[in-house]
Symmetry: C2
Amino acid sequence: MVRYGKEHKSETRRRIIETAGRRFKQDGIDGSGVSTLMKDAGLTNGAFYAHFASKDDLVTTAIADQLKVQAESVVALAEPGRAGLEQIVRGYLSPQHRERLGDGCPNAALLDEIGRCTETTRQAYTDGVLILVEGIAARMAPEAPSSARVKALSLLGMMAGTLQLSRALTDSRLADELLDQGVDNALALLDAWQRV
Amino acid sequence: MVRYGKEHKSETRRRIIETAGRRFKQDGIDGSGVSTLMKDAGLTNGAFYAHFASKDDLVTTAIADQLKVQAESVVALAEPGRAGLEQIVRGYLSPQHRERLGDGCPNAALLDEIGRCTETTRQAYTDGVLILVEGIAARMAPEAPSSARVKALSLLGMMAGTLQLSRALTDSRLADELLDQGVDNALALLDAWQRV
DNA sequence: CTCTTTGGATTACGTTTGCAATACCATAGA
DNA sequence: TCTATGGTATTGCAAACGTAATCCAAAGAG
């Protein structure tokens, strides 16, 4: 039944991290228990502690992983230059992204909870988000990405907040209009930054 | 010791709602237990269910209340016209607001958790946020506030996301720069909307 | 003025769930 | 065959939600 390969443990660990990432985004960090999470990953409660020191340890790891994956998919997916930026914005502020909580952006799903996390977790988040933002900034100002860093960060914050709000509203027409407005806002700002 | 006046119960209810509002914003909805919350309000566990049918009932009520209070304070505080808008934006995206979680904006503190709440709660949220947004829209376009509604909503989403992000970062200098950038963004958009 | 009713709160409890830990078992590979 | 490793099963303990029995002060009737 169980096969113990050389890299079995690291694979299991990976599976836990990915499962946790999805679950956290779907049900929230406080809303996800360790045992439920392990069952999701096809394991039992106790096995968890062979891989992580605590739930907090997993939270830190999972958040870092989510951001890394997002950074990679952003880099991989988008075309270079302004076209890629527009693509990112439109994809982010789309009804599809809004609906797919578990596969979506960890920022939009967890940002306010992350703000209440431990220093360690927030540090990991900060590191992760900076990598992600670097990817966006490089597209905004290839010649001077560092100056674009804060702008890219603000763009991420805007988009995450807009998506969250769109998720919270029960009026789906209004929620869609909000996304459209969000796209307009983001593109307008990108243009304004370009001109300076 | 205990004095049972005519309006004692409604006062107690009020106190629970206000305490809950603060606690939810500080520790999250899932992060706040009923008994802890009641102790905060100077009561015990069991008394809760004389006032609310369930925790969810309280959550719904508290969120609606928080938004109402915010709408009133926004309307009361700010000057009319563009000056008032700028005042709102600068106050919102300020280090002080970032630091005072319990007294701050419920959107910034709870938005992603609200998105995971029950339909009923989200409906109450939607109603509440629309009142708040109406107040902002009235300042943006006094002649046609309804057309400004979505713009005002998007402004709120932007600001909430930016504040959340600023709270999550461990690098406080970067967090401050982000707030400044957020102010620039918001004001730029307000100007752009004005011109159209 | 006393006795009863009423309503708000307390205490205590039951159930469930979550975190954490540990004793034990099965397999892979030396 | 023996041992390290990875996983299961089980347990302890605390917290959370919710219910119910009880208590106590105020208010009103006779």
